[in-house]
């Protein structure tokens, strides 16, 4: 994947807007340089993250398209949520990818179809599509949506006018009867993906896929565990990017690279080496997911002299904390095991969501967090409302807490910086 390679013909063949896309890549490249490459004492193995960032819209897309061309992969299946089981796509030789939704784009066009007061993540994916600047959206043969929040649910009705779309129904309550319906939803998805990819899921295929994704999660768990150390071996920014990369990069390559990072971080912990000095204020991030390239808040926290030691978020622990039980033998048993694993994700769409509060307090204790920064994207009713419960749980556990509402724009950076610095001074 040499950098000199000209990817413009590939982007053009995907129907993308070349001039706008060049502008987007320029801006994201600049941000990456300013935020990631200016960090001190990064583990050497984070060079993998630089590789991912460099290739994210170019080499990786070419690799996926080449695999399809060579018959090694069937279809590219995009999604926006950790509730969509990637094992099923992999079992059909498909390539699962998370779609772009972390920056404001073509907002004027979006607001012709969606209300102004829609969360920035939803506006973003609609904008990436309408602006024709996301090669993941353009190369996806199928997009799998999910009925989580009301905003996404209704926005998918619009998105379905733009892309070949399938929507899974997600329950709002965790109990025995909703688990039954959820298992049925997972099986419906399996049938849909089989049909789309022209592949029949066999026990061998599904077993291998479950194992591959579990290995990825184990690697991420191993890396996350090293962050309990003081000094912390790796920054929150780099850690956030490992999970963001997990939605986009090739599963075995990513698993290998994350294990390398975990091994280096384990050595650093052993040697007492850190990315920030011992005694740096340690922050647990909780709240809404942060899609690429939404690095704003982590950058602010770490530039203000704190360090993020964990992410209780879909671009964090919720993505890797649970494994799929590997003891199933039949396809049916394995799909049930997949459903059971995904059912444990404590998204704020669930009510009540007490287990999430327990998870947050446990994470704060395990990672020796000095404080919690809880974030909701603007107009995200669910995480806004749940922030009161998180605050109460944090207060009861004696953990300093701060809630922030923000979006993808940079205009509140000054005020956020003051609030974050003051929070670090207070704890």
């Amino acid at each position: 994947m040499a950098e000199e390679f000209d990817f413009h013909p590939m982007w053009e063949s995907l129907g993308m807007n070349l001039a706008d896309h060049d502008m987007l890549l320029g801006a994201v490249g600049q941000m990456y340089g300013d935020m990631f490459l200016t960090q001190n004492n990064r583990p050497k193995s984070t060079s993998y993250l630089d590789f991912v960032a460099t290739n994210i819209h170019s080499g990786r897309i070419k690799e996926m398209l080449d695999k399809k061309e060579a018959g090694e992969a069937t279809k590219i299946v995009g999604s926006f949520c950790v509730y969509v089981p990637e094992e099923i796509v992999l079992a059909c030789d498909g390539i699962p990818v998370g779609l772009c939704s972390g920056a404001d784009w073509a907002t004027d066009k979006v607001e012709e179809h969606l209300p102004r007061n829609t969360c920035p993540l939803i506006k973003s994916f609609a904008g990436f599509k309408l602006g024709e600047v996301c090669p993941y959206i353009e190369s996806s043969d199928l997009v799998v949506g999910e009925n989580t929040c009301d905003g996404k649910k209704k926005a998918y009705e619009f998105f379905a006018t733009q892309k070949n779309m399938y929507v899974m129904d997600i329950p709002n309550v965790h109990d025995k009867s909703t688990l039954v319906t959820w298992k049925a939803e997972v099986k419906k998805l399996a049938a849909k993906i089989e049909e789309e990819c022209g592949v029949t899921i066999t026990p061998e295929r599904l077993k291998a896929a479950i194992h591959a994704v579990n290995e990825k999660r184990r690697a991420l768990q191993r890396l996350a565990a090293t962050r309990a150390a003081d000094p912390v071996p790796i920054s929150g920014l780099d850690s956030l990017l490992t999970v963001q990369a997990a939605f986009m990069d090739d599963t075995p390559r990513l698993t290998g690279a994350i294990n390398d990072m975990a091994a280096e971080c384990e050595q650093r912990v052993e040697a007492g080496e850190g990315v920030a000095p011992k005694g740096t204020k340690r922050i647990l991030y909780t709240g809404t997911p942060m899609a690429v390239p939404n690095w704003k808040l982590f950058n602010l926290i770490e530039k203000a002299g704190g360090v993020v030691v964990g992410e209780e978020s879909c671009t964090g622990s919720r993505y890797y904390k649970d494994l799929v039980d590997e003891s199933g033998e039949t396809v049916d048993e394995m799909l049930d095991a997949i459903a059971e694993r995904y059912f444990k994700i404590n998204c704020a769409v669930f009510t009540p969501n007490d287990q999430r509060m327990k998870d947050i307090v446990q994470m704060a204790k395990d990672l020796h967090a000095d404080g919690i920064v809880d974030v909701a994207l603007q107009f995200c009713t669910l995480y806004e409302m749940e922030s009161f419960a998180v605050e109460k749980a944090a207060e009861e556990a004696g953990i300093p807490f701060m809630h922030i509402t923000t979006d993808y724009a940079g205009e509140d950076a000054g005020q956020l910086q003051t609030r974050i610095e003051a929070f670090l001074e207070t704890i």
């Binding site: 003051t418 610095e421 003051a422 207070t426």
Partner: protein
């Protein structure tokens, strides 16, 4: 050791000097103007004229406020939340709720045992801040002081928009409808005070202290106390709370 606090706010730049005995020896306020760097330079000159050399061996400087990074001669930078907390402890006491209504943001700081226990700050919009009053007084063609005086005799007119931009157009239509100026002035003040009271009411409770630029506005202080159900204490030095807090922190530096 002499501690100097420099508080560059969005509207006013303040400085305070704490002398060797730990008392506030001198204060000064100037408009911030366009450039925070210029404002900090002007304060340096004013300090020099008063006999305080910021480069002196026994002098330490802490900068705070939104322009805190634009003070090249500061030894340390501390946020205005921490400095207002420290300043309020000096001016008022160890416990209570500090309300600071600034030019572009409003802060509510909960003090416990002389320390900042918790704080809240408005999000990016200017509702409930000094800027809101400034814009509305402008629109009514009077000064902020005149607006407060007029408001005393007015009947409150409901201004329902929280957003400064929308509220301004609401005020324009009230003017167009011939609503008396004192009623609009009262409505404007009530709008800010009720928003600030809601924010403050979520904190630890009485005693309440008001710092920042609005503390000279007696009517605001009075209405705020009525809405919170407990008197709000302020002091002539309260607008310097951030600078005083910074000076105290500066004095503690080596």
């Amino acid at each position: 050791m002499i501690g100097i606090g420099i508080d560059i706010g969005s509207t006013a730049a303040k400085t305070a000097v704490v002398d060797g005995e730990g008392s506030v020896a001198w204060t000064c306020v100037q408009p911030t103007g366009f450039s925070s760097v210029d404002a900090s330079e002007r304060l340096r000159e004013a300090l020099a004229a008063a006999g305080y050399d910021v480069t002196g061996d026994d002098v330490r400087v802490v900068a705070t406020g939104y322009g805190r990074v634009a003070v090249p001669y500061a030894h340390k930078v501390v946020t205005e939340i921490t400095c207002h907390g420290t300043g309020a402890v000096r001016l008022f006491g160890d416990h209570g709720t500090v309300i600071d209504v600034g030019g572009q943001d409003t802060k509510v700081i909960q003090l416990k045992s002389g320390r900042v226990a918790k704080f809240a700050m408005n999000d990016k919009c200017a509702a409930g801040t000094g800027r809101f009053l400034e814009i509305m007084a402008d629109r009514l063609g009077i000064s902020q002081q005149q607006m407060a005086d007029l408001a005393r005799s007015g009947e409150p007119t409901k201004i329902s928009s929280m957003c400064t931009v929308f509220a301004e157009s609401e005020v324009i239509s009230l003017i167009g409808r011939g609503e008396p100026r004192e009623n609009i002035a009262r409505g404007v003040i009530e709008s800010v005070v009720s928003r600030v009271a809601t924010m403050a009411g979520q904190a630890a409770g009485a005693p309440y202290y008001l710092t920042g630029g609005l503390c000279e506005n007696a009517f605001v202080v009075e209405r705020l106390g009525e809405l919170l159900g407990s008197p709000v204490t302020t002091s002539p030095q309260a607008r310097f709370a951030g600078a005083i807090g910074a000076a105290i922190r500066a004095q503690a530096l080596n």
